[in-house]
């Protein structure tokens, strides 16, 4: 293991922990015990490995984006093609792992929260695969933004529960999933979708997502004979980012760059820039950076990307920021859309709006780097799900311009 965190209490330095109602504590302890029992079990690992390969299509390629690199005139840009996974994003790496675990724990019912719908679809998919009953909680606002994914989940046999409390987006979908879990903790497994929430989720989801970084590291060594100078990934809760960062943490020469959603700008009230504008607090089960007002009330986030529209971030990212091992920078809605358009036209790849934030940062830094330097960027998902919301966003922009 390349890192000593979290400790046995689920702490990444001061961050992490288990700040949940007592009703859930035994379920978390049971989950942790089961995970620790299976995480090094050859049978368990083989089942996960088999499904990642034969079902999801791993390893995903590390693609050299030659036209884009040449156009920008700087560093060589490699795209880690998580968008080519079954269901179109990195989310399935984690849901396969957790569904295999749920089955071994004897659970027949699973629940999940979702923002953009990618984790919901990935959960519905593995639930269908393993014959588990599945309920997905999704903010009512997001069910409108991501109608296609709602329909996909239903096609896969899952129930989609629209959440009407609070902001009606991912934050409240998470609250509602936890509340449902409290009531059904006896027979239900919660497939949490990011490296957030109470211990052991941040550790376990990271471990299931590390495959992104493990493959990237091997692939770049094979392609270039050396490690990259920079690894870039978008950060909402932070699962794809921690997945690709983690295997590079001990490679001191590799700069790790997380990209968060600045929405309409970090100087407005409409953003999801948790690291730039938040401060440490306890939110949804763990201590981490949180967007909050002076009194500790959690603020609503905004991003054009439903997957980044979240006022919290995983505790390990908070730790990496504080020990200065990773940096976190904001990218606006507009910059992300421009990057989406650039990548689509230059490489024939339409990225998810989430991943477009990472691409936008690459567009900024690649030209400042030399031609023998290398960037690896996590292309965490494909953009098909976003086409409709991009259309309406662009139409609105045009309407506003005289």
């Amino acid at each position: 293991m390349s890192s000593q965190v979290p400790d046995q209490h689920g702490r990444f330095g001061p961050f992490g922990g288990k700040y949940v109602p007592e009703t859930l504590m035994n379920a978390l302890i049971e989950l942790e015990e089961a995970y620790l029992k299976y995480k090094d079990d050859p049978d368990f690992l083989e089942e996960v490995r088999y499904l990642l390969k034969q079902y999801s299509g791993r390893p995903t390629p590390l693609y050299y984006a030659e036209r884009l690199s040449q156009q920008l005139g700087g560093a060589k840009i490699y795209l880690k093609r998580e968008d080519l996974n079954h269901t179109g994003a990195h989310k399935i790496n984690n849901t396969i792992g957790q569904a295999v675990l749920a089955k071994r724990m004897g659970k027949k019912k699973v629940i999940a929260e979702t923002g953009a719908g990618q984790h919901g679809v990935a959960s519905a998919t593995v639930a269908a695969l393993m014959g588990l009953e599945c309920k997905v909680f999704m903010g009512e606002e997001d069910t409108k933004r991501q109608q296609l994914n709602v329909f996909r989940m239903k096609l896969l046999g899952s129930e989609v529960v629209p959440v009407t409390s609070g902001t009606r987006t991912l934050k409240d979908a998470c609250n509602e999933t936890l509340r449902y879990w409290v009531s059904h903790v006896d027979d239900t497994y919660y497939i949490l979708g990011s490296v957030t929430g109470p211990h052991p989720y941040p550790m376990m989801v990271r471990d299931f997502q590390r495959i992104i970084g493990i493959e990237s590291r091997e692939q770049i060594l094979e392609a270039e004979g050396r490690l990259p100078d920079v690894v870039v990934a978008a950060v909402g809760g932070g699962s794809n980012a921690i997945g690709i960062f983690h295997p590079f943490i001990e490679d001191e020469g590799v700069r790790l760059l997380g990209v968060e959603a600045a929405g309409r700008g970090v100087d407005t009230d409409e953003h999801a820039a948790t690291m730039t504008k938040g401060r440490p607090g306890v939110f949804q089960g763990s201590m981490s950076y949180v967007l909050q007002d002076e009194g500790g009330q959690v603020l609503p986030a905004h991003s054009i990307s439903a997957g980044l529209d979240y006022p919290g971030i995983g505790p390990e990212h908070a730790y990496l920021k504080d020990i200065k091992r990773a940096e976190y920078v904001p990218i606006t809605d507009k910059e992300a859309l421009d990057a989406l358009s650039t990548l689509s036209r230059m490489e024939g790849i339409i990225p998810a709006l989430e991943s477009a934030h990472a691409i936008a940062q690459v567009l900024k830094i690649a030209p400042t780097m030399s031609k023998d330097e290398i960037i690896v960027v996590s292309l965490s998902g494909r953009g098909d799900k976003d086409v409709e919301s991009i259309m309406s966003y662009l139409a609105l922009e045009e309407g506003q311009q005289p």
Partner: protein
């Protein structure tokens, strides 16, 4: 134990009730719903209705342990941009009006953390709180708060749930004031059935605890209160009362004093109607 144990008001009330063979009635109210002035009056009304101590609930943006009724109350309260300190001041304002019963603060952890633990405990003392409940601060995370609570002579009241199993012993051993027994799996709110193992659960807690035990979550009527009266030392009623406040909102927010008075009285009558009858 660093300080001499000043007698905590919660302990005194339970001792007095025990002598009379009575069960404590502990209402919960969301502070600032619909506004802080009304909260002060509702606290007075709760005492007049015969409550023995009262939980003052701090509205929070993400109340994980709460069902829809208290979520809505929190949303209403937060519309007025009130802070933890504003809400805590309701206790001393009620005290100035002669309210004698012990105050228990119910708050999620983040507002406390942002205020700073030092300032938080100063304010608890200043406003006359005797206890606190922090639902998202389980045993594993509470050592700093627990140490400060003991130092200040304020009870950190722990929750135990039917799922706590082996944890019951450890939780009960550390408990101060009373042990808050969660009657059923799930969030706060009115419900018709309780956890099937509830009676066995309560006797387990009773055996493990050296302080009184109280039951909450889903208690909404005198029948419920009476069902538990023999097995515990107190019942906590939250959502059912908050729902009464919600129903009384048109009166409570009316401009004329008579309507407001009627609104307060409706809630008071409801609380009075919850008291278990003493044989």
């Amino acid at each position: 134990m660093s300080t001499a144990p000043n007698l905590n008001a919660i302990d005194s009330v339970f001792a007095a009730l025990k002598a009379k063979g009575e069960t404590a009635l502990i209402p919960f109210m969301t502070m600032g719903d619909p506004d802080l002035d009304t909260s002060v009056e509702l606290v007075q009304a709760a005492e007049a209705a015969g409550a023995h101590m009262i939980e003052l609930g701090i509205p929070y943006s993400d109340p994980l342990a709460d069902g829809p009724v208290i979520q809505r109350a929190s949303e209403r309260a937060l519309k007025n941009k009130i802070s933890l300190t504003d809400c805590m001041a309701v206790a001393s304002r009620a005290r100035e009006r002669g309210v004698k019963l012990p105050f228990i603060l119910f708050t999620y952890f983040n507002p406390v953390l942002q205020l700073g633990l030092g300032r938080y405990f100063d304010l608890l003392k200043e406003h006359g709180f005797s206890g606190m409940i922090i639902p998202d601060l389980p045993l594993e995370e509470d050592s700093e708060v627990r140490a400060l609570a003991e130092e200040h002579g304020i009870h950190l009241i722990p929750l135990v749930a039917p799922t706590s199993e082996a944890r019951v012993e450890r939780i009960a051993a550390n408990a101060k004031g009373f042990v808050y027994c969660v009657s059923s799996l799930g969030v706060t709110g009115v419900r018709s059935t309780f956890h099937e193992g509830i009676d066995a659960f309560l006797s387990t807690v009773r055996r493990a605890a050296s302080v009184p035990i109280c039951v909450g979550f889903g208690i909404s009527s005198r029948e419920h209160a009476e069902r538990f009266a023999g097995q515990c030392d107190g019942v906590i009623v939250g959502s059912a009362i908050v729902r009464q406040v919600e129903e009384a909102l048109p009166l409570l927010t009316a401009p004329d004093p008579a309507s407001r008075k009627q609104g307060i009285k409706n809630v008071q009558d409801f609380i009075a109607g919850l008291k278990p009858r003493v044989d």
